[in-house]
Amino acid sequence: MNGKEKITENTSTHEHISSYAEHFGTWVALILLTLMTVFISTFGADLRTLTVATALLIATVKALAVALYFMHLKYDAKIYRAWMIIVMALFVFFLFMVTLDYITR
């Protein structure tokens, strides 16, 4: 019923409260990265096949920023970071096996 009141840290971390500056900084970084993606694709920064790779790279950096700062992964217990990495690795494995099937068929 009143489970919320009982949510205590059982995993030994102390609470971290992010500053406004940090949140705001992350937000600015995300905006800049978005502008960069748009710029590369529309305003003809001519990187040819590198375009896709660059876009993916930028997207990865953005995702990391969100996970680490907005989702607090940076300040939470290590176990949550481990879980996040396991999940991503699983996802990569899914893609890998499906692709393996596809190209060797």
Binding site: M1, N2, G3, K4, K6, I7, T8, E9, N10, T11, V87, L90, F93, F94, M97, V98, L100, D101, Y102, T104, R105
Partner: protein, 539 residues
């Protein structure tokens, strides 16, 4: 041991009336809501199963048309999988007992918990609505394989949406349990002091949380293809049907561990209690749950050996499949070792647990036959498969569910069922089950294909045997259900701890008060299964 001082009313007594149930935030009441809904759908789908066996009593058409038969096995499969066995143990016993076994007063998100039950009901209504609208229930099999599922005129869209909604219900339950286990354990209970049932639910929850979204997306892709003709899976419009199978089984293989792991957790509770002995290899059992959940993600391709998947991929999947057998065998070894030299008290719950081991062993070993690439080419899509998965899901997970029901019944209702009748029901179930499904394994090896309403005359004898078995089986189900209802209404009052168990749920009243414990429960010294007076307790 037994604290029978009941100062507070039980959770049944605190409030009365329909609304106090369907809008309850009490995890115990939600567990019971699930029990009734899940039990109801089990009986419906079992009825459909009996109907199919009746049609298969003789070769040729008896009373079901080919098309109707296709719809019957699909509905049977969809209900059994999505409405019965996937939610079964976590939603009923996980909800009821996880918080109690952790020594806390509820799950982390009680409202989300209630919401997940309502989603379950909504999904169930979607599934049932296929009976009344349009061209009737889907005829694709519970797997909804494309491109047929994209083309058939039956109600595939509604069935698929039902599975989609039920998936959300499952995700929310998993999320709730993960947070509950991380954050709400009673002070002093580390991960390694948790009961093994909690460990099993923890591993299961991660599968529910991570794998279910994959099926969600996949099912929406089916709908999108049916409605907008997008061309994801149908080769005639540029799609790849094997991609569908990949996506489907990326969820549905891990999903078999959503069914199996909680069942194994129950066996790990029942066996030490009725052997009155510390569990052998606590950590091995706990971590093997995690290992099974993990390895389970890498093997989905064993369902696709004959589908046109590439050779190299098939070989990799076949090898990986053999690895899952290891943690499973670890568990079986540990259960048997726990029984060794224990003070064994053969009661109904233990019988179900032992039957689980027996049936699951047959299910698991036939699974290895199917996982072996070369053997699977011969038995794929035969009755061997039907026999195999009933052994795992029904003889394994289903029997564990019944075992849990008999084990925790006195705690949930504060009454005891008639043990003699329960023994009889068990005997009928066990004999009926094996008579129904063992012949299917042989039929499959002889080449009888699955999903047909008809078969060649040479398969007649074994089919008759299987159908006779289904009559024994259904008698067992009926006797069990009646006995439990009778026990709940007018059974003898049960004490707080009728089996002399030592996990925390046995320290509170039967049935428990609203907030689970009248006073803080005491953790047993030296681990959750350390029986103080047992012989050989110090292993």
């Amino acid at each position: 041991m037994s604290e029978t001082v009941v100062q507070q009313p039980s959770f049944f007594q605190v409030k009365k009336g329909l609304f106090s149930w369907i809008f309850t935030l009490d995890h115990k009441r939600i567990g019971i809501l699930y029990l009734y809904s899940i039990g109801f759908f089990f009986l419906v789908a079992a009825g459909l199963g009996i109907l199919m066996r009746l049609e298969l009593l003789n070769p040729g058409r008896d009373f079901i048309e080919a098309q109707t038969y296709n719809q019957v096995f699909t509905l049977h499969g969809v209900i059994m999988i999505f409405l019965f066995i996937i939610p079964s143990v976590p939603a009923v016993f996980g909800n009821f007992f996880l918080p109690i076994m952790l020594g806390t007063d509820d799950v982390a998100f009680p409202r989300l918990n209630l919401f997940s039950w309502w989603l379950y009901i909504l999904g169930a209504l979607f599934a049932l609505s296929t009976l009344v609208f349009g061209d009737g229930p889907a005829d694709t099999g519970w797997t909804f394989y494309a491109p047929y599922s994209v083309k058939t005129g039956t109600n595939v869209t509604t069935s698929v949406l039902a599975a989609f909604i039920l998936g959300f219900s499952s995700i929310l339950t998993g999320l709730n349990f993960i947070v509950t286990i991380h954050r709400l354990r009673t002070p002093g209970m580390g991960f390694n002091q948790m009961p093994l049932f909690a460990w099993a639910l923890y591993a299961t929850s991660w599968i529910q949380l991570l794998a279910t979204p994959v099926i969600g997306i996949t099912l929406l892709m089916i709908v999108a293809e049916r409605v907008f003709g997008i061309g994801l899976f149908d080769p005639s419009i540029g799609g790849d049907p094997i991609l569908y199978q990949h996506l489907f089984w990326i969820y549905s293989h891990p999903a078999v561990y959503i069914m199996a792991l909680p069942a194994m957790g129950i066996v790990s509770e029942i066996i030490p209690t009725f052997a009155q002995r510390t569990i052998f290899g606590y950590k091995a059992i706990a971590y093997s749950s995690m290992a099974i959940a993990f390895v389970g993600y890498f093997v989905w391709g064993h369902h696709m050996f004959t589908s046109g998947m590439s050779g190299p991929a098939a070989i990799v999947f076949s090898i990986m499949t053999f690895f899952v057998a290891i943690p499973t065998a670890v568990k079986v070894f540990n259960w048997v070792a726990t029984l060794y030299k224990g003070s064994i008290d053969i009661q109904v719950p233990l019988l179900f647990a032992l039957a689980f081991i027996f049936n699951f062993l047959i299910g698991g070993l036939t699974g290895l036959v199917l996982g072996a690439l070369a053997a699977d080419v011969h038995v794929h899509d035969t009755y061997f498969v039907v026999g195999h998965f009933h052994y795992v899901m029904f003889g394994g997970a289903g029997f564990a569910f019944f075992g849990a029901l008999h084990y925790w019944f006195p705690k949930m209702w504060g009454r005891m069922y008639n043990k003699k009748v329960a023994n009889t029901a068990f005997a009928l179930l066990f004999i009926g089950f094996n008579t129904t499904y063992f012949p299917m394994l042989i039929l499959g090896l002889k080449g009888m294909p699955r999903r047909y309403y008809d078969y060649l005359p040479e398969f007649h004898d074994l089919n008759m045997l299987s159908t006779f078995g289904s009559w024994i089986l259904v008698t067992g189900i009926i006797v069990m259900v009646i006995n439990l209802f009778a026990g709940g209404i007018k059974g003898k009052k049960a004490s707080a701890n009728p089996w002399n168990g030592i996990t925390l749920e046995w320290q509170t009243a039967s049935p428990p008060p609203l907030h689970n414990f009248d006073k803080m429960p005491e953790l047993p010294a030296g681990g959750p299964y350390n029986y103080p007076n047992a012989k050989n307790a110090s292993h």
